[in-house]
Symmetry: C2
Subunit: 402 residues, 2 copies
């Protein structure tokens, strides 16, 4: 498979906030060969990277090859057929300009970096594709906040993509997720090592705060059922270290639990690969995103969209619920756009879009091939018509009727 990775300097970039920077560099990767009509843009999730599959540049941890099960030769997004492009979003820390990057004077931006929105991500991707010679896309596909990014394409460039796929996403975050994201940011900014965002030339970064923020996020990505099944109340093995965070003497009387050990381990890995200011910037972009912004409602926002849309949601996802996807599907239907809302039964929570490729792959593959008529693509509307014998167990009905 032909792959390419690099960084493109897009020059001066005007952010939606009204601020600008002199040079926006965008780090990207491509997989497969462009035939003029087969480009698929993939939008990464909050802490993801351009390294969607394990062939391109070196990135570490969970940002590396994050959708390797879905993207590659012979896989659901088949790089033998499609020219896959993935770019790191502005504000992130995997090569695209963000708070940890240097400004033209060689000073780290830090919190002088302009506020970033999903709209900025979308426009940076459009500019990158222009540089790569890609006009109309075959598809835009994204998961989680990357799914919001994909929806933003349908709104902002309604003629530019034949297919839009939004996986485990929504038109906007609800109050509960806004609250948890806000708490996570406070964990970072109250870490004294954050130091108002100026920590790049210091010995210590705000790793405790970033670790806490990640742990809050992690709980949001798992379902109650999956956590109970995976960890229950078990104590961690005696080899488990308990030194990630300070503790007090009384803690020693109680078990260090599997679930703590897991979260501590994951947080330790995370702080090595992600920048605390980027976490502030990107969660704010996610919180701020509202598909209806600038329009009367979601249906108006996608009224000009010329393509077809696939919404994949997961029954165990409480970060972006099946109910939210159903509301979004109704907006596409109202706008007259062909849409399928494909509900996947899963206990894996929000993480399902990463860890259940065998359920995500078939509808994705068939949608990219045949749109909403794709064989493995189900739709809640059609399923509802099929009556009680259809795909919809009562658990779905109750989710929708809450």
């Amino acid at each position: 498979m032909k792959t390419d990775s690099g960084t493109v300097d897009l020059g001066r970039f005007d952010f939606a906030s009204g601020d600008e920077i002199e040079n926006l560099e965008v780090a990207y990767e491509t997989y497969g060969e462009f035939d003029g009509d087969n480009a698929v843009l993939i939008c990464h999730a909050l802490t993801g990277s351009q390294n969607v599959a394990g062939y391109g540049s070196e990135t570490t941890g969970q940002a590396r090859a994050w959708w390797n099960d879905i993207v590659g030769p012979g896989k659901a997004i088949d790089t033998n057929d499609y020219y896959v492009v993935c770019a790191n979003v502005p504000g992130s820390c995997y090569g695209t300009t963000g708070p940890a990057s240097e400004d033209p004077e060689g000073e780290v931006y830090g919190t002088d970096f302009p506020p970033v929105t999903v709209a900025d991500w979308t426009r940076s991707q459009r500019l990158l594709l222009d540089e790569l010679g890609v006009g109309r896309l075959h598809a835009v596909v994204g998961g989680s906040v990357g799914g919001m990014n994909a929806l933003d394409w349908a709104k902002r460039y309604p003629d530019d993509a034949r297919y839009v796929v939004s996986v485990a996403a929504a038109a906007r975050l609800d109050a509960q997720c806004l609250a948890l994201d806000a708490i996570a940011r406070r964990a970072i900014t109250t870490d004294p090592h954050w130091n108002g965002g100026e920590y790049y030339d210091r010995d210590e970064a705000p790793t405790d705060g970033l670790a806490l923020a990640r742990q809050i996020g992690h709980v949001m990505y798992l379902s109650k059922a999956s956590m109970e099944g995976k960890f229950g109340r078990r104590a961690a093995g005696r080899d488990a270290r308990r030194d990630s965070f300070p503790s007090d003497p009384a803690a020693a009387f109680f078990p260090y639990r599997d679930v703590e050990s897991y979260l501590d381990y994951q947080a330790e890995k995370f702080v090595d690969r992600f920048d605390a200011n980027s976490y502030l910037y990107l969660t704010r972009a996610m919180d701020d995103y509202d598909l209806a912004e600038g329009y009367e409602d979601d249906a108006q926002a996608v009224a000009a969209f010329e393509g077809e849309a696939l919404l994949l949601s997961f029954t165990g996802d409480w970060h972006f619920t099946t109910e939210q996807s159903e509301t979004l599907a109704a907006a596409f239907r109202e706008a007259g756009a062909p849409v399928a809302h494909h509900v996947i039964e899963s206990d894996h929570g929000h993480d399902a879009f990463l860890v259940e490729p065998e359920k995500v792959g078939p509808p994705l593959r068939d949608f990219l091939d045949s749109g909403v008529e794709g064989r493995a693509v189900h739709d809640t509307d059609a399923d509802a018509d099929s009556g009680p014998g259809g795909d919809f167990a009562p658990v779905h009905a109750s989710l929708f009727s809450q």
Copy 2:
């Protein structure tokens, strides 16, 4: 109404951990008159106090008169009929000995205070009641971790209470709640002002960490639906202050949301009334509690219980779910104890036990009067028999079938 409040010195107290202190003082309040057979012990929730109704000693904020809608003359727990006793638990900070108290040498205990468990709470209450001349209780009633405390009475003193009422509780916490509590504790212990728990003689207490811990807890007490209804994505009014937590310049571009303003305000109030070390100690006691501990299972743990049990649960509660209460009800049924699991339809999340007195009051009142045969007392088992026309909408069925 006759009320009494004070502190009893129980002398040397041996904790379940094996540690002891020379003097355990227990702060308590009583409402109504004792007739030898009408004592109702009320167990407070995590950050509650002995001030269950607004008549006794002065406590502040949400710890004051926390169940005033339920307890009082003519109320569901009618102090004209019952002699109500409520005591602050060991490890807390409302007058009962805890980390913020002084040891016999006049030094603040801090983290030298012994680890505390729910079993210690139960035993301290038994000892207090002995001091007050109360033998067998008419009832033990508790909400949230106070509901665990009430269950512990059924297990530890199976002959000592005619009725046990556990509201919005469970036999044990699940992995998701354990995780969030663990993260909350890390927020406290990573606050440099925590200083290993030694902050009592310093200028600054770990208020940032305690505020974060409280905010995480607060999200756990509300339901997704109630947060969405109460706050949505609205921006806070322009008078809302934004100075509780440090922030960065880019934040100013984005709205300060209602939900943030609410959580910040609540956290500010909380840190004025609660001790950070107590929060560590009491959440650990909650996390550690397992009704089945020392027994084969929950049914064995309550096998010797001679009374009747009422379990109240709320459909929108994800801290302690209706499903967990149903599991607990099954254990009582297996043990042969008369039990009613009364499910209350509510969107208010875990908070419902405090904010829906009109739904909690009637079954509670009638249970205290007539046990499981009480008129307003429903039971899932009986309701299930009544078929689809009964109290059970599909949403309950799906909760149980998850």
